[in-house]
Symmetry: C2
Amino acid sequence: MNLDKTQQSQPAGAPAHGKSLTLAEPLTLQSGVTLAPVTLAYETYGTLNADRSNCVLVCHALTGDHFVASAHPITKNPGWWIDLVGPGKVIDTDKFFVVCSNVLGGCMGSTGPKEINPATGAPWGLAFPVITIRDMVQAQARLLDHLGIESVFCVLGGSMGAMQALEWAVRFPHRVFSAIPIAGSYRHSAQNIAFHEVGRQAIMADPDWSHGNYLAEGKKPKRGLAVARMAAHITYLSEVALHNKFGRRLQNRDALTYGFEADFQVESYLRHQGSTFVERFDANSYLYITRALDYFDLQAEGGGVLAEAFRGTPVRFCVISFSSDWLYPTGESKTIVHALNAVAANVSFVEVASQQGHDAFLLDEPEFHQTMEGFLAGAAEARGIAYRPANR
Amino acid sequence: MNLDKTQQSQPAGAPAHGKSLTLAEPLTLQSGVTLAPVTLAYETYGTLNADRSNCVLVCHALTGDHFVASAHPITKNPGWWIDLVGPGKVIDTDKFFVVCSNVLGGCMGSTGPKEINPATGAPWGLAFPVITIRDMVQAQARLLDHLGIESVFCVLGGSMGAMQALEWAVRFPHRVFSAIPIAGSYRHSAQNIAFHEVGRQAIMADPDWSHGNYLAEGKKPKRGLAVARMAAHITYLSEVALHNKFGRRLQNRDALTYGFEADFQVESYLRHQGSTFVERFDANSYLYITRALDYFDLQAEGGGVLAEAFRGTPVRFCVISFSSDWLYPTGESKTIVHALNAVAANVSFVEVASQQGHDAFLLDEPEFHQTMEGFLAGAAEARGIAYRPANR
């Protein structure tokens, strides 16, 4: 553990990816492949307390990163959970030591297909091994080892973050005091896989993808990746949210143009989502992370019975879903809750009424924030951590 | 009218597109553009009765065609509505004279972007004018003129066919005795437009699309069109249907391969949907027809009040939706029904309970077929047509 190397410096010209750790030991992946070296880029907020009991591990979503509450180095946008994480906020950095790492397979500083394969000196590309949610979690566990954190007060996240939180609870039940899986599921459905497959096919259809070798060839499959993002983005919003936001309103024009320009605001919005995404995300990372999601299946980990994956768990769970989320509908969260109930686990469940769809977990949703705050307060009391957000 | 030219012969080597009619007069499109010549490929089934009162006009969906009850010349598949249309069937060709034409802008013999632009001698490509649902209906009206049919007993169709049926009722209320819009809507929602825009961007991202000139250049944007089809296909099925059909079952393998092959059956299925579609459909037609759908807005035609589009209508309506259709959800059919009620129109409405999603209108759904049969029987009696399907 003390051989792990913490790197704070960045190569010249590269965007700053925050802190990073290169694991001392190779990582044996779920596929059986051994991966080394493994570097994790991460950020921390707040201070670890004396008994190392106040760590909140935030897990990010498919296209998220570790810049939870600090500016993104490429887009310069504020942290993606700045509404929730900070001094006096629900995830109070005056009380908690918040850790978030870029997932294994990612493209913001952690080891992934865009990093250099030491065996060839070239970017990994498709030679990078397929990774799973479990592999991401195993790598995070090594990071916590390095930080001297034996037990996490709370592991939480939305969407793919929820899946990591669940995997943490299943894989390391005695290292997790509480878990908040938000807007997630226990496995990818056929429809989830189908949408991801469309995205992957869009990327692979782009000749600039070059069978995954685009970085070595100095290209970028921007068009394919943009289409993938556009298709996915529709699934992040509810039909009602799209209607309220755009309806059939026209974009900077008074009448239909009878052409293929972006007549409608929703077209212009989607194109913008696609074109900005490709500036900050790697196409191969998108392939690998969507694959990890598709492979995720806690029911299989429970030998076909989801409850078995949780049997004997000491973890306190708070499962949160959003009523208009059709990507990971409430019913899937309820399935998790039923499984936890079946093994007499400590679980609370809230379906937050929201019109925002899946992306509600990223937005300022008062009921969602109140639910988290209430659960964290109870769990903190049980754990003996002072938590009473000052300005709330 | 008697100048219209009916062509029965086909160019050597071209697939047989059935009957066709070239309009004698140019068509003035909704955009104001004048289009000529306009050819419509069509099929008929059954016999027109002496008083020409038994015509059922079937309108096809986005990627449908006029081969309602006869084999498709390219795929050799049986007609897409063979379950419903034929002797003794619900749409009884022993009693009705069934007409269906390939829509304007289509690619199965009607004038569209893949046909020759007489001004250049080359395929139209993007020089083809943007057409609308109203333009499709205007062209169909000319076909009925040619066939000597002043009034249609029933105009009906699913999905885009429903929109044409509604447009017929609004545009030609005195030429329509009854109308059955199935699994449709009165306008494209922001989500509908968004999914179509993804498809269009996928096509346009394919370098083989060549800014629409691929036919002249001897190319075909197969990869982009396949991605467009895959994305759209997901919207045709319900989440439950995908789950029942595929779940997380693997394709011809016992375990995950930790790669990007089609591990899951749903991936294999989607890839097949994409690759077979490109053999029978033209990419530019896909652009034009999706655009026509996005532009469709009967509420706008009613001056912002949907009911006004129907005011005074003598048409008998039967509006049918499917409970699990999330592309054109039941709520949109109900909006149509409310508008019709508001102007005291003759309307019945059935939401068919089905798990099949939008594509239920193409499947053997007994409650759906019974609903149509009941409505057609009542309407036929009112119109004085003998209709009592023999074998039902």
